[in-house]
Assembly symmetry: none
Homo-oligomer: 410 residues x 2
């Protein structure tokens, strides 16, 4: 089974954006045992898209297109592919209705109607997060799949609606799981499991650094799903023996989702007092639907004065130890806990950079304190990233501290 | 002058690595006015590299290859390209000597000798940081350039040795600018300038939706940089006449950077009282280095009680109008302003979704209020994204409100 990937978009040929779609699709196809022989990038140009399509039809069984399904003038992938295989398009009222809903009372831009045209005898692939649907077309013994260009839409649509269809075409079942770790760097983690990575070909094991965390993807190929699960369970057990302390989830979930669930199950309320992260931590927790069940309020105490006003940090503490210190972090968390009706108070204070560091207190130094009615714990971290990385890593470290507290690991 | 980029490497087709070379080369070629019509990725396979080369020779003036110049068995780009144009290879003693030097005392791998073979009548491009040299070959009116695959080697070689040759071939300079807009969707924006987009070929105009905003890239081609600037200034002026209200920057900067600069120049302090955005807005502002000059503190009042406690929203207002209302937003902003020493107080309250919406107050409904000593303004917005999109768009709308206030546009 041979596939060919065709990415449509002048912005790719101008080098304005990097082609993450080609990598994503290639990776996924490799995972399910489908060979990719060519990736082609072509601009929003009817003649050249047609030439590329006709070429690909000669040499591949599966053609995967990304991009050129949008509402604007130059989006023409669907129209050109239909021309290549001599297939008509019709206006689908349901899709038009969906787009209407998407825009609701707002002025419905005329150009969006274009997206409601569907190739005859094709299967529409729903776009759960955008307006352009995808299409799955069979033409003789060829399969043609049209996907929208925006990576978030393409990846969601591919995993949800295309993979099950391709699994059916291919003779294998491929199953992947993502194991989420936190609190260990990629090289250190890899050192602990390098023999497994090197010796395993089924399941395969790969690590991916992911903004201050490391994800481990294990992928098994088998005749059926049950056999794949057996292989995955075995390797998961082995990983568990080696790196249990760093694994926070076997579901593909973020650390804030995990902490939300843990707090929700225990019916606990949390609040934050954030300095260097300035709302990022609270915002991450609030990105989880239902967050209001566990999140009561937070303070962003950016200035020294606000730390004194809002959470009763003593002026003498700030003068003696500075805003970025164990002592200030502790008073912030305890003051927060005293002030509002929450079960867990977490404070974060640090130097995000790029300026503001000194020899004793370098950029990346962060103190995180967790306080409850009975106890408090302070964590010192030294990050080595840029401003944004240091802030994200601080927020994640705060969530990891909450997780460990709830599991009695601190 | 048309170019085609051909990247050779099975690791690209497996999705193991991302194709940064194609982006880099495309970007550079665009900068010097050479059009790229196709990028092709092909594996380390002689038959398919040959087919791709012959195809490209038919349609392009310049062929740029990356990869497949290494010492291993499957590296065959040079050999196949020479076969395609019927050109002999000879062993170059100088290159062999260089490779010898590179390995010095270390054992010289036999396979590296392969890299010392040079196409007859070609110009060798020196590899300053690796062993595989590149080649610049002229064949009739075609130019063929072979570059090594490792991105650090390719970029250095291209900028140092290839650009001067191509600048000489091409007679153009290309300049691009990015114009940032906010408060209008891509289709609606395009409707306002579609005639310009359609009629212009130099400069070209392209719109890119960018997480609730739209960027416009204008690109001019001219004999020299000054002439390109004249063309860009003209089109910028025309865009200004049409969509001035939505343009917030002619620099490639984010809305929060723009607002930070505006506040900083005016020596104004700001604070936020965030409900649905829950710290996201403050966090975005704090991502700009130096934010402490304008940001004093913020409250994340997620629960009703916290709105009453922290910013003196009246219980009767919450009961009568609800937490998501013009009235509550106004009391939040005014209460915030009263409580701390800031010049501008901004409140945000809304329904991010996916649940919590009603017929009268659907998911995506957001109220934003800006209050100063003398005035207050409330903005009602209806977003149609998912939870994250609604939150990001709310935060951006809040920044846009601040921008408009500072420019006396509200």
């Amino acid at each position: 089974m041979k596939a060919e990937i065709i990415c449509v978009g002048t912005e790719l040929l101008l080098g304005n954006i990097i082609n993450t779609n080609a990598k994503f699709l290639s990776r996924r196809l490799a995972d399910i045992g489908i060979d990719v022989y060519y990736q082609t990038v072509v601009g929003d140009n009817q003649k050249r898209i047609l030439e590329t399509t006709l070429n690909a039809l000669k040499r591949a069984d599966i053609l995967l297109f990304s991009g050129g399904l949008g509402p604007t003038e130059d989006d023409c992938t669907k129209e050109v592919v239909c021309k290549a295989i001599n297939r008509e398009l019709y206006l689908d009222k349901q899709i038009l209705e969906n787009i209407n809903c998407f825009f609701e009372q707002r002025q419905f831009p005329k150009s969006n109607k274009k997206q409601a045209y569907v190739p005859v005898n094709s299967k529409v692939l729903k776009n759960d997060i955008g307006t352009a649907p995808g299409f799955y077309i069979e033409e003789g013994n060829k399969t043609i799949i049209l996907l929208p260009g925006p990576p978030t839409e393409l990846t969601l649509m591919f995993d949800k609606y295309v993979i099950p269809k391709l699994n059916f075409i291919s003779n294998f079942t491929i199953k992947s799981r993502v194991i989420k770790t936190i609190g260990i760097g990629e090289s250190s983690l890899e050192e602990k499991i390098i023999d497994l990575i090197d010796s395993q070909s089924n399941p395969t094991i790969a690590t991916y650094a992911n903004n201050g965390q490391v994800d481990i993807r294990i992928t098994a190929k088998a005749d059926n799903a049950d056999k794949a699960d057996v292989l995955l369970n075995e390797i998961e057990h082995e990983l568990d023996l080696r790196i249990k302390d760093y694994i926070y989830s076997y579901e593909n979930e973020s650390i804030e989702e995990k902490v939300f669930k843990m707090l929700y199950e225990r019916k606990l309320k949390i609040g934050f007092c954030e300095s260097c992260t300035a709302g990022l931590t609270t915002s991450m927790l609030a990105s989880v639907p239902g967050a209001s069940e566990v999140l009561e309020r937070s303070y962003i105490t950016y200035s020294n004065l606000s730390k004194i006003d809002e959470v009763s940090v003593r002026e003498s503490t700030l003068n003696k130890y500075g805003a970025v210190s164990k002592e200030t972090a502790t008073e912030m968390a305890k003051g927060l806990l005293k002030k509002c009706s929450i079960d867990i108070g977490v404070s974060i204070t640090g130097i995000a950079g790029p300026t503001g560091g000194t020899k004793n207190k370098p950029v990346g130094l962060v103190y995180i304190c967790l306080a409850t009615k009975d106890k408090s714990f302070v964590l010192e971290k030294k990050f080595h990233g840029n401003r944004e990385e240091n802030r994200v890593r601080s927020a994640k470290a705060a969530f990891n501290l909450v997780r460990k507290y709830l599991l009695n690991l601190i």
